[in-house]
Subunit: 121 residues, 2 copies
DNA sequence: TCCTCACATGATTATTTGTTCATATATTCA
DNA sequence: TGAATATATGAACAAATAATCATGTGAGGA
C-alpha cells in the first residue's frame, strides 16, 4: 500500500522501465546508452547536472556555484544541450538551464544507491 | 496490487533508493558516481556488461560473442573487476565472470527507458 | 551609437583512454 | 616434464576529451 506511493513518487516512468527487455537490446541502442553514460561520466558535467536537479540556473550561477570558468561551463552545457539532456530559456542577457526530464534524477538515484550499498558491505 | 509486485520484481533495492537524498550529495560521492558512469560509457565495456546480465561467461565466450580480441576483453574486465562491478570464479583454465550486483541492471534499465521515451517524442 | 555584460564558440594543448602487440602466468593433458 | 590452452598484463600508440585562451555575438543601458 505504502510501497505503491513511494514507487510512483521516487521512480517516475516505471511504466517504461517495465517494458524494457534487456535481452532485446540492439547494438545501436547499446551505443546510444554508452553515449548517454558518457555525459554523466565527467565530474564537472555531473556537478552541473546535479546542480540542476532541483532548480533552473543561469550560466553565471553555475560558474559561481561550482567555481568554474564561464567558458568551461558553456562548453559542457553545449554537450548536454546537443544530447537533449538539458533545455534552456533566454531571459534578457541571461540563459536559464534546466533538466530535460526526470529520468536523469532516477538514473542518478539508482547509481547512488549502488555506491551506498557498496559502502555498507 | 500488481504494481507492488512489478516494482519489487524489476527494480531491486528500492529501499536504498528511497533513502537517497540528492541534496546531500557530497563532492566525493559525485566523483565516485562519475567514475562509475565512466565504466558504462564505453561501448565495448557496456557490451560486456550487457552480455553478463543474464548469465556468467568465461573470457573466451565473451571474445567469441562480441568479436573482440582476448587482450581487449581482459583489459576491460580488469577495469570492471577493480571497480567491483563484476566478480569472477576460476574453473580449471577458464575464468567465469558475472555481475557483482543487481544495481547494474536497474541502472541500465532506467537509462534505456530514457532513450525509449526520447524516441517516442 | 557605444559600451558593458552574459553567454557561445573556435583553436590549441595537455591528459586520458581504448586498442594492439608482445609476453608472462597458470592449468591441463600427454 | 613439456606442449597447448586460457587468461593476465606491460608497453606503446593513436584517438578522444577536458580545460583554457582568445574572440565572437547579441541584448540592454547610458
Amino acid at each position: 500500500m505504502k510501497d505503491e506511493f513511494i514507487c510512483e513518487e521516487n521512480c517516475p516512468h516505471m511504466a517504461t522501465v517495465q517494458k524494457v527487455k534487456l535481452e532485446d537490446m540492439t547494438r545501436s541502442s547499446q551505443k546510444q546508452l554508452a553515449e548517454m553514460f558518457k555525459l554523466f561520466s565527467d565530474e564537472t558535467r555531473l556537478r552541473i547536472i546535479c546542480s540542476l536537479l532541483n532548480t533552473e540556473l543561469c550560466v553565471c550561477d553555475l560558474c559561481a556555484l561550482l567555481e568554474l570558468t564561464q567558458s568551461n561551463v558553456s562548453h559542457q552545457l553545449q554537450l548536454l544541450r546537443n544530447s537533449k539532456l538539458v533545455k534552456y530559456r533566454k531571459e534578457g542577457k541571461q540563459v536559464y538551464y534546466s533538466l530535460e526530464d526526470e529520468h536523469v534524477e532516477s538514473i542518478i538515484k539508482m547509481a547512488l544507491a549502488h555506491i551506498l550499498e557498496e559502502k555498507m558491505k
